[in-house]
Assembly symmetry: C2
Homo-oligomer: 337 residues x 2
C-alpha cells in the first residue's frame, strides 16, 4: 500500500507537507493541498495509524483487560459494563481494545498493549499487573476494588452491601418480617456482601435473618436462573410462609412470578417481589412491573472510562468512584402497614 513517501514524490512535495495536509497541524496552501489530496486519492493512500502512533506516542485507544472465562461466556453484567466503556470512550474519540488473552505464564513475555490507558476488570489479590502498568507509565483504572486497597490506584465499584441493606430495610419498614432471599451463587463475593447487608438490616430492626430463608443459586442444581426462582418458591412457600422475596436477578424473579401464578399467590397482594439486579432489562415489561435494583453495570463501565480519559489527560489524577446502585420502585411490592 502507498506510503507518505509515494505521495510526496508524486506530488512533488516533502513528506512533512503531506503530513500537514492530512493532520492540518500547520497551514498548507490551497493549491498544494489539492494536489496532494488528488495524488493521495489516485494512489489510494491512507495514513498509517501505527506509524503515526509511534511518532506521536499516542494511539487514541483505550485497553480493556478482561480475561475470558474458559467456557467463553460473558455475563450480562460484563456485557453491559463493556457497553458503558465503549460508549464513554467513543464519546471522547477513543476506540477500545478488548484484551481477552489469558496472561502468559512467563512474565517476560508480557508485552505492552498499543493503548494510551487501560481499564482492568476483577483485579486479583495482590495483582502484579498493577505495578507493571505503573512501570510502563500506562494510566490504569480498575473495575472492582484492589485487594489490598491501594490508595495509589484509581478504581470504580458498586456499593453492594449497602444496597441490600437498603432493600431489606425497605421491606422491613413496609411490615414484612418473613423474607425469602434467593441469593447469587455462594462463591461470588457479591453474594457475601449482599447477605451481610441484608443481615444488618434485620438486626437494625431487632430481627435476625434466618439461615433457611437464604438460598443460593447453584449452576449444578438449577438449569437456569428462572428455573431457580420457580423451583425455590414451589419448594418453600408452604413451609416458610414469607410475605416477600428478594431475588438475585430479574430472571430469577420471572420464575418466582410464574410459580406464584401457578400457586394462586397474588403478586404483590400476598407476596412482594424485588430483584437485586436488572440483568435482562425486562423488569418493566413484566406483569406486574418488577421493583428492582438498577446496578448500573453500564454506568460502572462508563465511569471507569471517564476516569481513564481524565487520567490519560493528566496522569496525576487519582480517584475512587462508587457507583450507587439504585432501587427502582415499580409494582411488585406492597406495604403491609
Amino acid at each position: 500500500m502507498a506510503t507518505i513517501d509515494d505521495v510526496a514524490k508524486l506530488a512533488g512535495v516533502s513528506k512533512g507537507t503531506v503530513s500537514s495536509v492530512f493532520s492540518k497541524k500547520r497551514p498548507i496552501s490551497k493549491e498544494v493541498t489539492e494536489r496532494v489530496l488528488e495524488v493521495a486519492k489516485e494512489l489510494g493512500y491512507y495514513p498509517n495509524h501505527i506509524a503515526r502512533s509511534l511518532a506521536m506516542k499516542k494511539t487514541m485507544i483505550a485497553g480493556l483487560k478482561m480475561p475470558i472465562s474458559k467456557d467463553g461466556i460473558m455475563s450480562q453484567f460484563e456485557i453491559q459494563m463493556i457497553n458503558g466503556v465503549i460508549k464513554e470512550c467513543s464519546k471522547h474519540g477513543y476506540r477500545v481494545l478488548l484484551d481477552t488473552l489469558p496472561e502468559h505464564d512467563d512474565p517476560n513475555q508480557f508485552s505492552s498493549d498499543p493503548v494510551d490507558g487501560m481499564i482492568m476488570l476483577n483485579p486479583r489479590k495482590h495483582d502484579p499487573r498493577i505495578a507493571r502498568y505503573e512501570q510502563m507509565g500506562i494510566p490504569l483504572v480498575l473495575v472492582g476494588r484492589p485487594d489490598p486497597i491501594d490508595a495509589k490506584v484509581s478504581y470504580v465499584d458498586n456499593n453492594n452491601t449497602q444496597l441490600s441493606y437498603e432493600v431489606g430495610d425497605y421491606l422491613l419498614r413496609s411490615g414484612h418480617t418473613s423474607i425469602l432471599f434467593l441469593n447469587a451463587s455462594s462463591d461470588m463475593t457479591v453474594a457475601y456482601d449482599r447477605e451481610s447487608g441484608l443481615a444488618e438490616a434485620f438486626e437494625r430492626h431487632g430481627l435476625s435473618l434466618h439461615k433457611e430463608y437464604v438460598i443460593n443459586y447453584s449452576r449444578r442444581l438449577h438449569s437456569s436462573p428462572t428455573e431457580y426462582g420457580y423451583i425455590s418458591i414451589h419448594n418453600t412457600y408452604q413451609r416458610l410462609e414469607y410475605t416477600a422475596v428478594i431475588t438475585d436477578t430479574d430472571r430469577v424473579a420471572l420464575g418466582v412470578l410464574r410459580a406464584a401464578r401457578e400457586l394462586g399467590i397474588k403478586v404483590p397482594d400476598t407476596l412482594s417481589v424485588i430483584a437485586l439486579s436488572n440483568d435482562t432489562k425486562l423488569a418493566q415489561e413484566m406483569t406486574p412491573k418488577l421493583t428492582s435494583v438498577e446496578l448500573s453495570a453500564e454506568k460502572l463501565g462508563a465511569e471507569a472510562a471517564h476516569l481513564l480519559v481524565e487520567k490519560m489527560r493528566d496522569p496525576a489524577v487519582m480517584r475512587h468512584h462508587i457507583v450507587q446502585a439504585e432501587l427502582v420502585y415499580r409494582e411488585s411490592c406492597k406495604q403491609l402497614r
Copy 2:
C-alpha cells in the same frame, strides 16, 4: 519508560541482541540472556508493541467495525456476535479492536486502523469502505451480505429469507391461513428478506400474504419491542382474526403473550406464536415456552472471525458462509389439522 536502547547500553550489548532475547527469534547465549533480562527487569523494560508492529507490519489485532447507534444501545444480537468474534479471535492469539467511532464526513480523514484484518457489521448499500480496505490491503470479512452482492468479498450471513419461508410453511402446513407478521423495522434488509421469504411460502400454498397482516417495528411509534407486540395485538386482533403470529424477536412475543392473556386468548390453543429470533434467550423460560428461531449470532461472529483468521494468513482466501438459523419447536404453536 525504558526502551530497548537503554537496556542494550546498560547490558553492554546491541539492540538486536536485546530484541532476540525477547522475541527468541535467534539463539542468544545463556549468560547474555540472563544479563539482559536482569537489566530489563531493573529498568522495568517491556517491549513497545507499537514499534514492534511498525517494524513487523503485523499487530495481532483484529478490528471490529461496528457503528454504535445514537442512543448507544447494542442489541442482544450484536452483543452475542461480538462475543463470538472475541472468543474465536482470542483462540488464535488475536485481540479485538472495537471500532465504534462514527464515520467521519470527510473521507480524507479516514484513517487506517492498527489491525491485521477487519470484520465489518451491517455493510451499507454500495459501501465505500469495502473498496477502501481493499486498497489498504486489509483483509475484510463482512457480517451480512454486501449490497450489491460482490463475489470478491468474503462474508457470513444468516439464511433469513429461507428461514421465514420455513416458518411460514410450517404454520401454513399446520392449517393456519391467517397469520399476523410483526416484522423488524422496515429499513433493515433483514426485514425485506423475511417478508419475501414469508410471501413465498404463502404463494407455494396457493395463498398470498396480505399487506395489512404485515406490521413493521418502529422506534418512533413503539417504546419497546415488548410494547410493540402488546399494542399490535390489541390493535388488530378483533379486526383481522388471525390464528397465528410471527414476531420479530422473543421480546416482541413477550408483549404478544401479555396482550393475549388480557384478551383471554389462549396460547397456543386459539393463537400460535413464533419468534424469528431469540434475543433475550428467554424463549424457553416463558409460559408457554416459545417456539422460536435460534439465529446463532454468536456463531455468526465466530465464523466471521474464523474466516478472517484464514484470510490474514492467506489474503487470497475468499469465501461466503451462511449460518443456518434453526427453528426450535417448543410449546407456543398448535396444529390446526
